[in-house]
C-alpha cells in the first residue's frame, strides 16, 4: 500500500494515457462510427475538458481536506489538459484538413465557436509551457496571475462545446455545471475569507 502511495504519481501518469490507448484501439478496429474523424476529434476534446475540470478540482479538494500535497498532481493534470488539447488541435489540422490551409483559414475565420477554442488553447498552451518549477521561479508573482487565466479557458472551452452543436446539449450542460461549481467554490472562498479578514481587523481601527 505504501508502495502504491509512493508510486501513485507514476500510476496516475500512466492511467491518464489510457483514454488515448482506447481511442487508438477504436481507430485500429474501426470502431468510431460513420464519421470517425469527427468522433476522434470530439473525444480528444472531451478528454481535454475533463482534465481541465480535474485540474480545477485540485484546489477545492486541498481547501476542503486541508491537505496541501497535491500540487504536483495539479501540474500533471494540467499538462494532460494541454496534451489532449494539442492532439485535439492536431486532429483538426492534419486528420480532418490534411493541412489544407485555405480551408482551415476560412473555417477558423467564419466559425465563432472555433475562436473560443483557439482562445482556450492559447491559454492552455501558455500555462503548459510555464508549468515547470523553473518557470514558476522565473515568473515570480506573475506566475499566479498568468495561471489564473485557466478560469477563462474553462469558460471558453464550455462555450466552444455548446456553440458547435445543433441539437443535444446534455453533455456541454454537464460540463458547464461542473465548471460553474468549481469556479463558484473559489468565489465563495474568496468572499468568506474577505469577511473573515474584515472580522480580524481590531474594532478601533475601523472607526478611523
Amino acid at each position: 500500500m505504501s508502495w502504491l502511495i509512493k508510486k501513485l504519481w507514476i500510476v496516475t501518469l500512466v492511467v491518464c494515457l489510457l483514454p488515448l490507448l482506447f481511442l487508438g484501439l477504436d481507430v485500429v478496429f474501426d470502431n468510431l462510427g460513420s464519421n470517425p474523424i469527427q468522433t476522434l476529434h470530439i473525444r480528444l476534446g472531451d478528454w481535454s475538458l475533463r482534465f481541465l475540470c480535474i485540474t480545477l478540482a485540485i484546489s477545492p479538494i486541498q481547501t476542503i481536506t486541508r491537505w496541501r500535497g497535491m500540487t504536483e498532481y495539479r501540474q500533471l493534470f494540467g499538462l494532460y489538459t494541454f496534451f489532449y488539447a494539442s492532439l485535439h488541435l492536431l486532429v483538426y489540422l492534419l486528420v480532418d484538413h490534411n493541412f489544407m490551409w485555405s480551408l482551415i483559414s476560412t473555417d477558423v475565420i467564419e466559425s465563432p465557436y472555433i475562436w473560443l477554442g483557439v482562445f482556450a488553447y492559447i491559454i492552455v498552451f501558455l500555462l503548459g509551457i510555464t508549468s515547470s518549477k523553473f518557470a514558476m521561479k522565473k515568473l515570480g508573482r506573475n506566475w499566479k496571475k498568468l495561471h489564473r487565466w485557466i478560469y477563462l479557458a474553462s469558460i471558453a472551452s464550455v462555450i466552444h462545446y455548446f456553440w458547435q452543436l445543433k441539437g443535444n446539449l446534455a453533455e456541454p450542460l454537464f460540463y458547464a455545471m461542473i465548471v460553474f461549481l468549481l469556479l463558484s467554490f473559489r468565489v465563495f472562498i474568496w468572499f468568506t475569507s474577505r469577511q473573515i479578514s474584515k472580522m480580524m481587523i481590531p474594532k478601533g481601527r475601523l472607526d478611523q
Binding site: 460513420s34 464519421n35 486528420v95 480551408l103 476560412t106
Partner: protein, 317 residues
C-alpha cells in the same frame, strides 16, 4: 409552371415491363397492401429487392460514388427519437409505418388522402444518385429510389394560388420518445418549399435507397429529398402535404430563426452564425484526407440557380 434549367434532366416516361414487375415487388416489400387484400406483412420476410433493372435517372451526378450504405444507415438525425446520430437506427424500428397514407390538401383542385401504395402505383420509380449535405458540415452520396415530387403534386391539381408546399411528419408519440416528452423541437416536424422548388425535376420523394426499401431511421416509408438544400429540409416520414398561399413556418426556422432560414440552400459563402459552411466531411473518406470544398447549391447550380436569380442569398438563407 415552366422551370428553366440550363441543362435538361431527362426523366424516363416509359416503364419497361421488367421494371414494372420490380416496382410491384418493391411495393409489396414496403408492406403496403391493397385495400381489402390480405397479404401477410412483407416485413416479416426478406426485405431486399434487387433493383438491377431500375431506371437510372440521368442526373448530373452519375459519376458520383455512393457512400457505403452502412454509414448512411447508421448516421441519421431523427430528433423524434434521439439527438444522437447512431441511436436512431435501433430506436426507429419501433415505428409503425404500415398502413401509411398521405393527405394532400390546401390550394388544390382535388384534395385527397392516398394510401401510399395507390401513390406508388402511379409512379415510375427511379434511382437517383444525389449529394446530401447536412447543415452540420458533413455530407454523403446516396442512391435514392423514388420519383419526382411534381408527379404527385400534379395528381392533386394545384391551383394557381398555390405558392408554397408544407410537409408534415407523422405524429406518433407512442413510438417517438422526444415527441412524447416534447423535447427541443415543436413536433410534428414541418418543412416547406416554394412551389417552383417543389415542382423542380430534381426534387424527389424517396421510398428506397441502395436498391432497398427505405430503412425506418432514414425516413421510411416516404421522405423528401431536395439535393441542393441542407439535409434538414428533406423531411422524413411524410403524412401530410399542403399547398398554401403563404410560406409555412418550418420547424428549425421556428426553433432558431437567426440560424436556420426557410430556404436553407447549400451555400459555402453564407456561414451559419456559429460555424462556417465552406467545407464538409464526406462520410467514408479516410483519415488524412481533407474536407471537401462545399459547392454552391451543393453542386446543382446549373439546374437550380435560376430559381434564385434576383435574390440576396445572404438575406434569404
Amino acid at each position: 409552371m415552366i422551370i428553366k434549367t440550363k441543362k435538361d434532366i431527362p426523366s424516363s416516361e416509359i416503364t419497361p415491363p421488367e421494371i414494372f414487375k420490380e416496382r410491384r415487388k418493391f411495393i409489396q416489400m414496403l408492406g403496403l397492401t391493397l385495400a381489402g387484400a390480405n397479404i401477410p406483412s412483407a416485413f416479416a420476410g426478406e426485405n431486399k429487392v434487387n433493383f438491377a433493372n431500375l431506371i437510372k435517372s440521368t442526373t448530373p451526378d452519375d459519376s458520383l460514388k455512393p457512400t457505403p450504405a452502412e454509414l448512411v444507415k447508421n448516421y441519421t438525425n431523427y430528433y423524434e427519437f434521439t439527438f444522437n446520430k447512431d441511436d436512431a437506427t435501433k430506436l426507429a424500428q419501433s415505428m409503425v409505418i404500415d398502413p401509411w397514407s398521405v393527405e394532400i390538401s390546401g390550394e388544390v383542385e382535388k384534395p385527397a388522402t392516398y394510401h401510399l401504395e395507390a401513390i406508388l402505383n402511379k409512379q415510375t420509380l427511379e434511382e437517383r444518385i444525389y449529394r446530401f449535405r447536412c447543415v452540420e458540415g458533413w455530407s454523403m452520396v446516396v442512391p435514392w429510389v423514388g420519383f419526382s415530387l411534381a408527379n404527385l403534386l400534379k395528381m392533386a391539381k394545384p391551383l394557381s394560388t398555390a405558392q408554397f408546399v408544407k410537409f408534415t411528419t407523422i405524429q406518433q408519440p407512442e413510438t417517438m420518445p422526444n415527441q412524447r416528452d416534447k423535447k427541443m423541437l415543436d413536433f410534428p416536424y414541418v418543412e416547406g418549399l416554394r412551389i417552383d422548388e417543389a415542382m423542380h425535376p430534381l426534387t424527389m420523394l424517396a421510398v428506397g435507397m441502395y436498391g432497398e426499401t427505405l430503412p425506418k431511421q432514414n425516413g421510411a416509408p416516404l421522405r423528401l429529398v431536395v439535393p441542393w438544400k441542407y439535409g434538414f429540409k428533406s423531411i422524413k416520414a411524410i403524412v401530410k402535404i399542403e399547398l398554401l398561399k403563404n410560406p409555412p413556418l418550418t420547424t428549425w426556422n421556428q426553433s432558431a430563426p437567426q440560424e436556420y432560414g426557410f430556404y436553407a440552400n447549400v451555400n459555402p459563402s453564407v456561414p451559419h452564425p456559429r460555424w462556417s459552411q465552406n467545407s464538409e466531411r464526406l462520410l467514408g473518406s479516410g483519415f488524412f484526407t481533407s474536407r471537401r470544398q462545399t459547392e454552391l447549391f451543393n453542386g446543382y447550380s446549373e439546374q437550380v440557380a435560376s430559381l434564385y436569380q434576383n435574390m440576396d442569398l445572404r438575406h434569404f438563407f
